[in-house]
Amino acid sequence: MSGWLSAILYILLAPVAGGLIAGIDRKLTARMQRRIGPPIFQPFYDLFKLIDKENVIVNLYQNLYLTGFLVFNIVAGTLFFAGGDLLLVIFALALSGIFLVLGAASATSPYSHIGAERELIQMMACEPMLLIAAMGLYLLPHSFQVRDILAVDKPLFLYLPGILFGLLYILTIKLRKSPFDLSTSHHAHQEIVKGITTEFSGPALAVVELAHWYETILILGMIYLFFAWNPWVAVPATIGLYLAEILVDNTNARLTWRWTVTSSWLIAAVAGAGNLIVLFYFLKAGF
């Protein structure tokens, strides 16, 4: 029952929390660049403004896919916070990403097209590590259910340091932060105009933003899982790791797609898979 409660809370509160996190993120980023930066509520101002604007489109169907993007993002997050199957969460997340890509691809503008291709490459870079992380979390409770993983009474991050590292690496991609903001970028950054979101305007863009906030919360939830045995550690650790992501965002230049794929696959293969294999045989041997 508590699973459903937290799922409902997620649906209602994730946009608020996600927007706030985005606001803090922008403020911190500004401070790191010795600027004053926008108010913390700025993302909400942006969102409401976008909803208020005209919806300019290049073809009739592009926004259809965005609905899919938002809906399946929410489905993924809801499933996660309801304590559902982690693999299904990852698949739903991939599905939502695919909808975004299809929307951009249908727009036939060179910028959104390249953005779509790069988004796909980014998804390809993330996918193995996400699945490996799910498998790593599976090993201790012998279940892919999030609620079973939460119930594990051990500090998972000590068992899965390599997987946590690998996951953080690719979460930079998922959060669209430098050095991996290839397909589109945040704040005042620009890359191939606005990449995958180039052809979305007004309310459509608001949908993209909203979906991204949902996704951010889901990602933080995933990090939380690694520390879940003790909330007093978990909350500061999650916050700390997110701050680290902001720091990385501000201190790194953008990488090429080739680097993105090869480096994240390498890290998934070495840190993630290595960790998984070692842990599997350790557990089998009865440690």
């Binding site: 489109i57 926004n63 809906v71 199957d85 097209h113 796909l120 996918e127 052809e199």
Partner: protein
């Protein structure tokens, strides 16, 4: 029941002969329609008759055939292969036919154990295969009517060999039914070689030098694989009397394992796994219905079918693990290569090999859930891939190209065709659809056994996502340039595509039933364990399916307050979506091409890697059998 199964095997064969002697195209097409429809019905009849029943052993007239006609048929087959080898100057084929003959003599020398009274076995797995062959095969047969008509119009030179084409297709269907029903290994081998021969004839249909070269490649590699079964027969008849699949599956470890490994080699060859993969790519020169029928949904499935039959033996053995590893490596490498391809048929070929690799991986593990996943994969893959192949074939005739880049904006030009292709693609990899359910089950099954296999699968499924989505993106792009004039599809093509598209979605909706009525009863006989996909997850899947179905309605709300503008081209648009002002006021067309990652991935290198890795692993597998 006996009579029904006899009809199942006989009807396609008779239909094939009948249409060949029919004068006139109309009568011929009528016979083909009728035969295909009847085959579909018969397959359903078999399904209905066997639901909830225990496995049945049958005779269906084949026991007599096995006693009297097997040897002459084998000799005729070898002679035919030898004849083609000599006629088209392919020494390897002749040598292989010779070896085949030697093996046959060896089998005769080893003494002939008394053939079974009832050489056929009709259980859940067989019924599942019969359904696939019947329904998908029938659908493809219907599609081929319109396809070959248009094919003839495109290639008017040379004699019209459509009658013999359909004869071979129907012969193949018969042999395929026999193959999946046969429990007696000699009988199975005969049907096996007939399908190989049919594949050879159909790949070489065009009779061009390239087609013949590829046809012989397919023939030779499959003959080599066929030796696996031949040797398994020899081994079984020396050691255990009557060689049957079921005796191997329930046999004790070392001896049965060797036979199973030998059969697995045959399976790997037929399923075009590394190191045998190259023949399937060559096979793409065949007319597309052939690719759909033989090289994606039925014949290549025979390979994984025999491996699944042997799966109980592989459970928890090192040899089984290595077999799985071969499958997993094939999955990883071929799906990565598929990401570099823009030729639609090659993409489909590589993706077929990849998915068969996934099935082999599951079968090699041989646990309850792994085999469950493997069987579901066979169903979903057969339907969705057949749909994709057929729609690519039709598109190829309409656009004159099988390049994915040329399918840009198909949703605008020919929405129905594009929709068929999209459903097929979604069925291959998207979340609530079929293949993903099985991939999910596969990961769950594999992680319980071993961490290495699911890691490889995780890496392999990422490129899958990449190449399918970019293909879908191409189809859905709202075309910047005007459409080329496109001819309407023939009725037969539309019927087949509609049938398969409905099946792709329908099976997702009823797969819990398929699982509980067809697959579970079979698994309960051979494995212990239970299925881990819980009801909660199933409900989630259905919710997702429903959400996707509801999506189009969001257009109702979306289309308000919208203004259509041109896409952003730095303001240099020429007033339309398709052109912009270039340097010196020139008019430049907008051309958007997908990424193929050529600077990162190289087809030849990856392919070689697969050959070396899997070749080594195959040797290790036999070492592991001994060990």
């Amino acid at each position: 029941m006996e009579r029904l199964v006899f009809l199942l095997i006989a009807v396609p064969l008779l239909g094939g002969i009948l249409q060949a002697v029919m004068p006139g195209a109309r009568a011929r097409h009528g016979v083909i329609w009728f035969t295909c429809g009847l085959t579909i019905l018969l397959a359903h009849a078999v399904l209905v008759m066997t639901l909830g029943e225990a496995p049945i052993r049958l005779n269906a007239g084949l026991a007599l055939f096995e006693r009297q006609g097997l040897l002459p048929a084998e000799i005729a087959l070898i002679a035919l292969i030898g004849f083609y080898g000599i006629r088209y100057r392919n020494p390897l084929a002749v040598v292989l036919a010779g070896l085949q003959a030697l093996l046959l003599i060896g089998q005769q020398q080893a003494g002939h154990p008394e053939p079974l009274e009832q050489p056929l076995l009709l259980d859940g797995l067989a019924v599942m295969m019969v359904m696939i062959i019947g329904v998908v095969g029938g659908g493809i047969g219907i599609h081929a009517i319109g396809y070959m008509q248009e094919h003839r119009e495109h290639h008017p030179e040379g004699p019209d060999r459509r009658a013999s084409f359909f004869f071979v297709v129907f012969l193949f269907l018969s042999a395929m039914f026999g193959l999946v029903l046969a429990d007696s290994l000699p009988l199975l081998l005969l049907f096996w070689e007939i399908t190989t021969l049919c594949s050879f004839l159909l790949i070489g249909f065009e009779r061009t030098p390239e087609a013949m070269k590829n046809a012989f490649k397919a023939l030779n590699l499959n003959l080599i694989g066929g030796f696996g079964i031949g040797l398994a027969i020899l081994h079984q008849s020396i050691n255990h009397g009557t060689p049957t699949l079921s005796s191997i599956a329930s046999g004790a470890a070392p001896a049965a394992l060797l036979a199973a490994a030998l059969i697995a080699i045959a399976g790997l060859a037929k399923s075009a796994q590394f190191p045998f993969s190259s023949w399937l790519l060559g096979a793409m020169v065949a007319p597309t219905p052939v690719s759909a029928l033989l090289h994606s949904s039925t014949m290549v499935k025979a390979g994984v079918y025999v491996i699944i039959r042997c799966a109980p033996v592989f459970h928890l053995t090192p040899a089984g693990f290595i077999l799985s590893l071969i499958g997993a490596i094939t999955f990883l490498l071929t799906s990565t290569i598929a990401a570099t391809q823009s030729n639609a048929k090659r993409v489909l070929a590589y993706s077929t090999i990849a998915n068969l690799g996934l099935i082999v991986t599951c079968a090699g593990i041989g646990s309850h859930q792994a085999v469950w996943a493997a069987m579901l994969l066979i169903i979903f893959h057969a339907v969705a891939k057949a749909l994709l192949f057929l729609s690519v074939g039709t598109v190829e005739h309409k656009l004159g190209s099988r390049d994915i880049e040329d399918m840009n904006g198909l949703i605008v030009c020919n929405p129905r065709l594009a929709l068929a292709m999209l459903i097929g693609a979604a069925g291959m990899f998207l979340a609530p659809f079929g293949m993903l359910i099985s991939k999910w089950a596969a990961i769950e099954a594999l992680i319980q056994a071993n961490p290495i296999l699911p890691i490889i699968i995780a890496f392999g499924s990422a490129p899958t996502l990449f190449f399918w989505t970019k293909w879908m993106g191409k189809l859905l792009a709202c075309r910047p340039q005007a459409c080329p004039a496109i001819r309407v599809c023939s009725l037969s093509e539309q019927a087949a595509l509609g049938l398969l598209a409905a099946l792709t979605i329908g099976i997702c909706a009823i797969f819990p039933m398929v699982s509980s009525h067809l697959i579970e009863p079979y698994l309960a006989l051979h494995f212990s364990g239970e299925i881990l996909i819980s009801r909660g997850n199933l409900i989630t899947m259905f919710i997702m399916l429903a959400l996707i179905g509801l999506l189009p309605f969001s257009l109702v709300y979306r289309s308000r307050a919208e203004r259509m503008v041109t896409p952003y081209l730095c303001g240099a648009n020429l007033g339309d979506t398709g052109h912009f002002t270039g340097s010196a006021d020139s008019v430049q067309p907008v051309y958007l091409k997908n990424y193929y990652l050529h600077s990162l991935l190289d087809e030849a290198t990856l392919f070689r890697l697969g050959l070396i890795a899997s070749g080594t692993l195959m040797l290790v597998m036999f070492a592991a059998v001994g060990w």
